[in-house]
């Protein structure tokens, strides 16, 4: 008996081991996990490094990076510490990414489930609505929603969720359409179980894996959408956000390009980590799609 043999572990633990062994085969996916860990660490450090307020003056304006210990990554034109902005921005990016993704998947799964399970005219109507949402350029719709609802952080998260649910809806619909014809569903229906229970308790747990894998794609998209909004000055002004830092740094781009470059790199690495993570998960959970 060796430790590497997972068969003598309890089933729950065995599943995790197999999962991890498959995941770790993909080096890029492991890199993604490390990057994501780094971003989470940044977000956690925000409270320790700069507990007060990243939006207040911390030193001489336009200090370049690596000049003084007080502001290691330099300051912007108002003397705000860029490192503090990066740390607090990590919180906002992750927060918006996670909450917007939950909203988007919740809307998508409900609509996809109803369309796929009931079919017929319900499917027709819901799919036309989905098509309409796919047709309207999502960033323009996002602008309109933020203009109407106002740009508090809650409204931004809600608006991002509203413009990004179409892909999970299509995925959930496809899963429901194939699952509802299975024998075990016929069996529970004959036992007198109602539609709602069949949808949520019988089909949903089986339909979720591909949707969950897609969550990392939506997370990356949500972070990109928020940063673009904040860049244009339409984000919530009460929070430090990477996009907003870049937007304000634009005014001093000619002389102090680091003010834009540092938060930009932070966005690229964060989005990259979610993409890599998604690919790794996809390879493990949907092995049929790839060789």
């Amino acid at each position: 008996m060796s430790l590497a043999d997972p068969t003598d572990l309890p089933p729950e633990e065995r599943r995790w081991r197999v999962f991890w062994r498959r995941y770790r085969r993909n080096r890029a996916a492991v890199l993604g996990l490390i990057l994501l860990g780094a971003v989470v660490l940044l977000a956690l450090l925000a409270g320790i490094y700069e507990p007060v307020d990243p939006l207040r003056r911390a030193g001489e304006p336009l200090t370049w990076p690596f000049q003084t210990w007080q502001t290691p990554l330099g300051t912007d034109q108002l003397g705000r510490d860029i490192l503090a902005g990066i740390l607090h921005g990590a919180r906002i990016s992750l927060l918006i990414g996670v909450v917007a993704t939950v909203i988007s998947i919740a809307i998508g799964v409900v609509i996809g489930a109803l369309a796929g399970y009931f079919g017929g005219w319900v499917d027709d109507v819901l799919m036309r609505i989905t098509e309409a949402f796919q047709t309207v350029p999502s960033f323009v719709l996002l602008l309109a929603l933020v203009a109407i609802l106002g740009s508090s952080i809650e409204n931004i998260v809600l608006a991002i969720g509203i413009v990004s649910w179409t892909a999970p809806a299509r995925l959930a619909r496809a899963e429901f359409m194939s699952l509802r014809k299975r024998e075990f569903i016929d069996a529970v229906r004959n036992l007198g179980v109602g539609d709602a229970a069949i949808i949520f308790r019988e089909i949903l747990p089986n339909a979720l894996p591909p949707v969950v894998v897609y969550a990392s794609v939506i997370m990356a998209l949500a972070i990109l959408l928020e940063s673009a909004l904040a860049f244009l000055g339409l984000g919530d002004p009460n929070y430090a956000s990477w996009g907003n830092m870049i937007g304000q740094g634009r005014a001093v781009l000619r002389t102090a390009w680091y003010v834009c470059a540092i938060p930009g790199i932070a966005i690229v690495l964060t989005v990259l980590s979610f993409s890599l993570l998604g690919e790794g998960l996809n390879e493990v959970l949907n092995p049929r799609q790839k060789k």
């Binding site: 047709t135 323009v140 602008l143 203009a147 109407i148 673009a228 244009l232 634009r250 834009c260």
Partner: protein, 324 residues
């Protein structure tokens, strides 16, 4: 003949989608604080209640919501989006004025992203799991993660500020009055950076898709048969694999058009290009709701038309598709 019927049926399918977008635009307008009359009165610097009531009646705003919706749909169907209080012109005139620049930027970006993305994807797939493939695939992931506004600013730093090669913004050199070829070249120079910024994410997208698609097709039986019959690798690639591998990539041309239009908001704003994207941003800042809804409707129509055309192209390219 079946092709014609197919095209007609596809066109009819777009009708409910357009209708739904129009209803959506109406709902958004109703949700927005303030209406046309509020905007008018605000412009005039205030008015008495009686006058406001008369204006409301004149614009039909005293009618029930259903009547208002019906009138709105009827007007929109004729491309009448109301009056822009910012530009003092009908919205449709403002939109048509801006459409050209955006379509030019769109087509340039799509062309660039498609050709380079397909070429890189095919190269990566032919040398799958080699160093070349790793470099190309990693580049693709980084491109995908780079926001267009960040790339735009960094390009401005390098190519405009440091090297001085390209203009920072605008669609043409002001007060230069170029004509003929000089004018074309001048506009092209102004479009280099915006095109690159807008196309990067889509280039990454086509690259990944093409790589996966080529890998899949290369495994199919008919490729093995062709190879067994002595077809050279070059002929195999261009005659047998590419043709089939391109199909899924072509379908996505249409789908991406909508996202591309959204991306133009940021890029046009940064490079001060007078297109629909910049107009959308300005309308939000100036709370010009009529114009914003006009942009949503017009861009949706553009997306639907492009989707329709790609569908037809796809049906023509792939004879396996049934036209019923």
């Amino acid at each position: 003949m079946p092709f014609l019927i197919y095209a007609l049926r596809r066109a009819l399918q777009a009708v409910p989608v357009i209708l739904m977008i129009m209803v959506g635009a109406f709902l958004l307008l109703k949700l927005a604080p303030g209406d046309t009359v509020d905007a008018l009165v605000g412009d005039m610097g205030g008015a008495d209640a009686q006058f406001i009531a008369r204006l409301r009646a004149e614009y039909g705003l005293d009618q029930p919501v259903w009547v208002q919706l019906w009138r709105y749909l009827a007007k929109m169907a004729q491309f009448d989006f109301g009056w822009s209080y910012v530009y003092e012109q009908p919205v449709s005139v403002v939109l048509l004025d801006r459409l050209g620049v955006t379509l030019m930027l769109m087509c340039a970006s799509l062309f660039f992203a498609f050709t380079i993305g397909v070429a890189l994807g095919a190269i990566a797939a032919r040398r799958a799991y080699s160093v070349t493939d790793n470099v190309i695939s990693t580049l693709g992931l980084v491109f995908y993660a780079t926001p267009s506004f960040f790339l735009s600013l960094m390009m401005i730093v390098v190519f405009s500020v440091k090297l001085g090669w390209l203009p920072v913004g605008g669609i043409r050199t002001i007060a230069a009055f170029y004509t003929g070829w000089d004018h074309v070249l001048d506009v092209a120079r102004h479009l280099v950076m915006p095109t690159a910024a807008l196309s990067l994410i889509y280039l990454a997208f086509y690259l990944r898709l093409m790589r996966a698609s080529v890998l899949e097709v290369a495994e199919l039986d008919f490729v093995r048969t062709a190879r067994a019959k002595g077809a050279g690798e070059g002929r195999l690639m261009f005659h047998h694999i590419m043709r089939n591998a391109l199909l899924p990539v072509v379908t996505l041309l249409g789908l991406q058009f909508s996202t591309l239009l959204g991306g133009s908001v940021v890029v046009e704003t940064i490079f001060s290009l007078p297109g629909l994207g910049q107009l959308a941003y300005q309308s939000v800042i100036q709370r010009d709701m009529n114009t914003l809804m006009g942009i949503i409707f017009l861009s949706s129509v553009v997306v639907i038309v492009v989707n329709f055309l790609t569908d037809l192209l796809y049906a023509r390219l792939d004879s396996r598709i049934e036209l019923s």
